[in-house]
Amino acid sequence: MKEHETVVQLSIPADAQFIDIARLTLYGLAAKMGFSYEEIEDMKVAVSEACNNAVLHAYNGRRGMIHLRFEMSADALAIVIKDEGKGFDYKQVAKQAAPLSAKPIEDVKIGGLGLFLMEALMDDVSVTTADGTEVRLTKFRHRGEGEHAHECISPSSVQEQA
């Protein structure tokens, strides 16, 4: 853990039903950090794609968990999505991460958009597949100043009227 970094961790079953819980937590933290609506929506999709993959590919139908780690620092939010599943050949797969091309619809293969979307929606994506799969997604804050993550919002507001 780096200096000046605040960490929140969330573990959910590798079950499609719980991915929205990951989105809720992400939303709460990213809003607190002052990310824009669009940035938050982008991160929601990217994080969900990583979770979808853990649900679909990691455990071959066995039960397992997805561990999310939200690292908040002055200049970025990094989300690490980890499973303890079978892993995969990331280098090989990453080469194929691309949007659908304009060929006849009959020839379009569905799937393979997950990693592409993570790349497209985040500022940085890195994947480690040593012991299960660990996807690290980073979004930088485009604000310039190095202020603290906490200072920017308070959830409540008091309004006076004389």
Binding site: S154, P155, S156, V158, Q159, E160, Q161
Partner: protein, 99 residues
């Protein structure tokens, strides 16, 4: 008049104190707290309101809490503070406070 919007919890405590303190200490004016848009309160927030009431009472200043949402009222009732708040509201009305 003060409108409290959002969550009156531990995270909001400091901001609340800062905003309300100058008003609380002005005994010449009626202080009315409106809770219509309060979405969340817990013992921290209730404690802050009770503290405010004590401050006002000590000064003999008028104080009222109004438009309490049902779920907030339920917590006021459970914790026993409704008694003090409604007493304060009554007193305020008796001495002629208008909201």
């Amino acid at each position: 008049m003060v409108y409290i919007k959002g969550e009156l919890d531990l995270a909001a405590a400091e901001q609340f104190q800062r905003a309300v303190e100058p008003l609380a200490n002005d005994a010449t004016k009626l202080l009315v707290i409106h809770l219509d848009e309060l979405t969340y309160i817990d013992s921290t927030g209730i404690g802050m309101l009770v503290a405010l009431l004590k401050t006002r009472k000590k000064q003999g200043a008028r104080f009222a809490i109004e438009n309490v949402p049902p779920k907030v009222q339920r917590l006021f009732d459970l914790t026993g503070v409704s008694y003090f708040f409604s007493e304060a509201n009554d007193t305020t009305e008796r001495i002629g406070g208008q909201s």
